[in-house]
């Protein structure tokens, strides 16, 4: 079977799963099957088929699994959001449309990711600029203690999500150019300098905006790509050492970080105050059992309409999935991320130029690490930092940025598969 037909088949399966998901939420809510719930499934199927048509046209040799995986994750997300807060599901749906439109635009007009190689430094600076945007007075907005948003009229978006991709592009280009020099035991300041400059600026901005999850993500991606480029564990170890030092400093200086850390160590020290979110998240996860309560039948929303866990549909959507779909559903979601990352790294392995290799590895690592940071946070594995679960969490900027990420990976894989043919 051709790659594209395989993709088509996968997308049909995703459409079916989406329809079933919506129908079951609807049944749990109203005790009837409604055409409206099935319409969601049909709508998403049509949307994915349109995206598929664009891929078929622009990148016929691209990986056939990435788009269905992304589509399935987005469908799971929008189904959960529909179950929690139906109005938001519609908005998320609109964002998915926007994301896929930009995805199609990127495929049709950019076509080749290597064009980005020419603008490495420009994109790096743009990333830092984007990160700094929320700190600007007038357009910046603070939500839940973190200033990550930029408000333009009715639309609020997180420029950090886009900056994530741009930084990976910058790193791929920069590390490709300097990998031999950086691979030395003690690279000179001349080669490390620009890297540390962009990176230091990015982290500074993140700390300034209190985006701890973002800081953790970018630093981890940086270390992963540095290791891929140089093969030196020592650099990674040094980086981790620096990070621990920074974390230790933050722990003592920024009260928010200290609080997150102590909640992680003992969530039940203050179960109604600082530890509330995490404790409620753990209750939700533990009550799911092996197969969950069923969609729409869990205990997520209080009689007043508010959710027991604040930010349930953004940061804590994994907890909602674990409760209603059980361990089976949660593991399935984790598995989807593993598959996605595996396909991404496979593209990196097969790519024949350094830029493509580093770009594919960096984008896949960023995707996987982001999922790990938030799922690890809500399960209490690591201290909780607010960040979206790619494709699943409610949030337009995240969905749009991640569809662009998929687009880039598809471009790389198209080129790889075409050349190997």
């Amino acid at each position: 079977m051709s790659l594209r037909n395989r993709e088509l088949l996968n997308l049909l399966a995703v459409g079916l799963i989406t329809a079933i998901g919506f129908a079951s939420v609807y049944i749990a809510r109203e005790s009837v099957v409604s055409a409206a719930s099935l319409a969601y499934g049909v709508f998403f199927l049509a949307l994915y088929l349109a995206a598929h048509a664009v891929v078929r046209m622009a990148l016929p040799h691209a990986d056939p699994y990435l788009l269905p995986l992304a589509g399935l994750l987005a469908a799971i997300g929008v189904t959960m959001i529909y179950r929690i807060e139906p109005d938001r599901a519609l908005r998320q749906g609109i964002w998915i449309v926007v994301g896929l439109a930009l995805f199609a635009g990127a495929l049709l007009f950019l076509r080749d990711h290597r064009i980005l190689d020419r603008y490495t430094y420009t994109l790096g600076l743009a990333a830092v600029g984007l990160l700094a945007l929320p700190a600007l007075p007038g357009i910046g907005a603070t939500i839940n203690g973190a200033s990550l948003w930029v408000r333009l009229g009715p639309v609020a978006f997180q420029p950090g999500e886009l900056a994530k991709i741009l930084l990976v592009v910058f790193l791929a280009g920069y590390l490709r150019d300097n990998r031999e020099l950086l691979a030395r035991a003690l690279p000179s300041a001349k080669h490390f300098g620009p890297l540390l400059l962009v990176w230091g600026a990015a982290l500074l901005v993140l700390v300034e905006t209190h985006d701890l999850g973002g800081a953790l993500l970018y630093f981890s991606v940086f270390l992963a790509m540095l290791y891929v480029a140089t093969g030196r564990w020592l650099h990674v170890a040094g980086g981790l050492g620096l990070f621990s030092l920074g974390a230790w400093g933050l722990y003592h200086v920024v009260p928010r970080v200290g609080e997150r850390f102590s909640v992680w160590l003992d969530p039940w020290a203050d179960p109604t105050g600082a530890g509330y979110q995490l404790v409620q998240s753990l209750y939700a996860i533990s009550s799911g059992g092996l197969f969950g309560s069923g969609l729409g039948r869990g205990v997520l929303v209080a009689p007043g309409g508010s959710t027991y866990i604040p930010f349930l549909e953004t940061d804590f959507i994994y907890s909602a999935i674990a409760q209603e779909l059980g361990l089976a559903g949660a593991v399935a979601v984790v598995l989807l991320y593993v598959l996605f990352v595996w396909r991404g790294f496979r593209i990196a392995l097969l790519a024949d130029d350094g830029f493509s290799k580093l770009l594919a590895a960096g984008l896949s690592a960023a995707f996987g690490i982001q999922a790990f940071i938030i799922v690890g946070g809500v399960t209490g594995l690591i201290p909780l930092t607010g960040i979206t679960l790619p494709f699943v969490s409610y949030g337009g900027s995240s969905v749009v940025a991640n569809f662009l990420l998929v687009g880039l990976l598809l471009m790389i894989s198209d080129r790889v598969n075409r050349d190997s043919r």
Partner: protein
């Protein structure tokens, strides 16, 4: 770069395995997390069960029922209490925002149908398989709604409690505590429920079950226990002779009889029965000194003192009676640690609950046999089958039947021509004992009346305690006890 790419992927894969491990860990810890307060899944599981109702003994007065509410496609059963203040402390409450109390707490397993007797387990499993709402068992209490209402009305605007028992079975017919509260307010207006602005005592504590937790100085009602010890031990008979000088010397200090405006009463040469009839402190002081405090306390134990009365309410809502030293129950091993004379007429550091004194009256009425007090008549499954039918249980023998008969005769004289004449009911012989305990603050006596009727064939025993009273037990508590007895006997109060 390929080896590095592979290794980074392996690290990431390991991290994802850790995520699965952590998620599974919380599943494994679920039983532990489930029991924690603030876990909404537990709360919601409870409210989606159609909780059993609670009835008065005749099944006609609903003490606790449910109102349905649709929340997110499911039916929630929220508690409502149609009888409001009537038996509020004993029935308790079951809410979303607060934990439970009273029978709602202690009988929760039955009320939610999660008790583990075979019939209930079978029904619950079938219901679950059929996807039906889980239904709890109904509870029929022993409470006599009419007498309870009379008691609550009589206690209104006072601080105190009344308990009425069936001596032969231990069934609790009346368990009234004022000030009371409206359990319907607990969910949303807890502050309002927990404050009783009109109450004449501080703290008003309407949530406190004064019948089982209120500790009062028993005063002269304790003379019944002392008399039981005196007669049952064989040291005295009802006709034992004493000389009352109006006081008794203890540790070189004068302890005087009850004083009215003309000063302490002096009775001169009296027998033991007359001493109880007129509640003569100096005589009981002498009896206490002769018996020694340990004998008196030993008999108190036989009546149930020094252990929490085994009622069905949560253990935390019941208090044991006895000597209290700095807030702790004290059973002295050294007889010199206790003032025997003052103990004998119910002062010293004695603190008792109205329930305990009702048990004393009931044991005397029941020929000396103390029955286990119970609030439970039966528990009925939704299909009408009886899950539990409460049978009378003997707690122990307090005194020999002959002693009980002698005590009954002495207590009859109290009501016929002694301190308790207020409690007379025409056509029905009543046995009783008054109590007016000094708290050390003027006009703030703990006043008592314990009684049973008919004295020749006892059917009902009652104890009434009031706090912060200016009058005597005869003036304040006896009329309430009389009204309750009269209602129970079938007359008009």
């Amino acid at each position: 770069m390929n080896p590095q790419i592979r290794r980074v992927f392996l690290v990431l894969a390991a991290l994802f395995v850790a995520l699965v491990g952590m998620t599974s860990y919380w599943l494994w810890k679920a039983p532990d997390l489930e029991a924690r307060r603030g876990n909404p899944t537990l709360v919601v599981r409870q409210v989606t069960i159609e909780r059993g109702r609670i009835y008065s003994s005749d099944g006609r007065t609903l003490l606790a029922a449910n109102r349905r509410r649709r929340v997110q496609g499911r039916t929630w059963y929220l508690r409502r209490y149609p009888a409001k203040e009537l038996v509020a402390q004993t029935i308790g409450y079951s809410t979303l925002s607060r934990s439970r109390s009273g029978l709602e707490e202690s009988l929760n397993d039955f009320l939610t149908g999660s008790n583990s007797d075979l019939h209930t387990v079978l029904r619950r499993t079938l219901d679950r398989l059929e996807g039906l709402t889980q239904r709890g068992n109904d509870v029929v209490t022993t409470i006599d709604a009419r007498a309870q209402q009379v008691a609550m009305d009589a206690l209104a605007e006072k601080c105190g409690a009344a308990v009425a028992l069936e001596p032969a079975t231990g069934r609790v017919l009346v368990i009234a505590s004022q000030p009371s509260f409206d359990p319907n307010l607990v969910e949303r207006h807890f502050r309002r429920a927990a404050s009783a602005p009109g109450a004449p005592c501080r703290p008003a504590a309407p949530l406190l079950d004064r019948a089982t937790q209120g500790l009062y100085i028993p005063g002269s009602t304790f003379k019944v226990v002392t008399a039981a010890a005196a007669l049952d031990s064989g040291a005295f008979t009802p006709s034992s002779e004493f000389v009352d000088k109006g006081y008794c010397i203890e540790y070189g200090k004068k302890v005087t009889n009850f004083a009215d405006q003309s000063g302490p009463e002096v009775f001169g040469r009296v027998d033991f029965a007359t001493a109880l009839q007129h509640s003569i402190n100096s005589v009981f002081c002498q009896v206490g000194q002769r018996l020694g405090p340990l004998v008196v306390l030993e008999y108190a134990k036989r009546f149930g003192f020094y252990s929490k009365p085994p009622l069905e309410t949560p253990a935390g809502e019941r208090a044991a009676s006895g000597l209290y030293d700095r807030g702790r129950l004290l059973f002295p091993s050294d007889p010199n640690a206790v003032d025997p004379g003052r103990l004998a007429f119910g002062q010293e550091r004695l603190l008792v609950t109205p329930l305990q004194m009702a048990m004393v009256a009931a044991a005397v009425a029941n020929g000396g046999l103390l029955m286990k007090p119970t609030l439970l008549d039966r528990i009925v499954a939704p299909d009408g089958t009886i899950v539990t039918q409460q049978a009378p249980e003997v707690l122990g023998r307090a005194v020999q039947p002959e002693t009980a008969a002698e005590l009954t005769a002495m207590m009859r004289r109290v009501v016929e021509s002694g301190t308790g004449t207020v409690a007379q009911i025409s056509g029905v012989p009543v046995a009783g004992k008054t109590g007016t305990a000094e708290t050390g603050r003027r006009g703030e006596n703990d006043t008592w009346f314990i009684a049973f009727a008919p004295a020749d064939a006892p059917r009902f025993a009652v104890a009434v305690a009031l706090q912060d009273q200016a009058g005597t037990g005869a003036q304040t508590a006896a009329p309430i006890a009389r009204a309750i007895l009269q209602t129970l006997l079938g007359g008009k109060p």
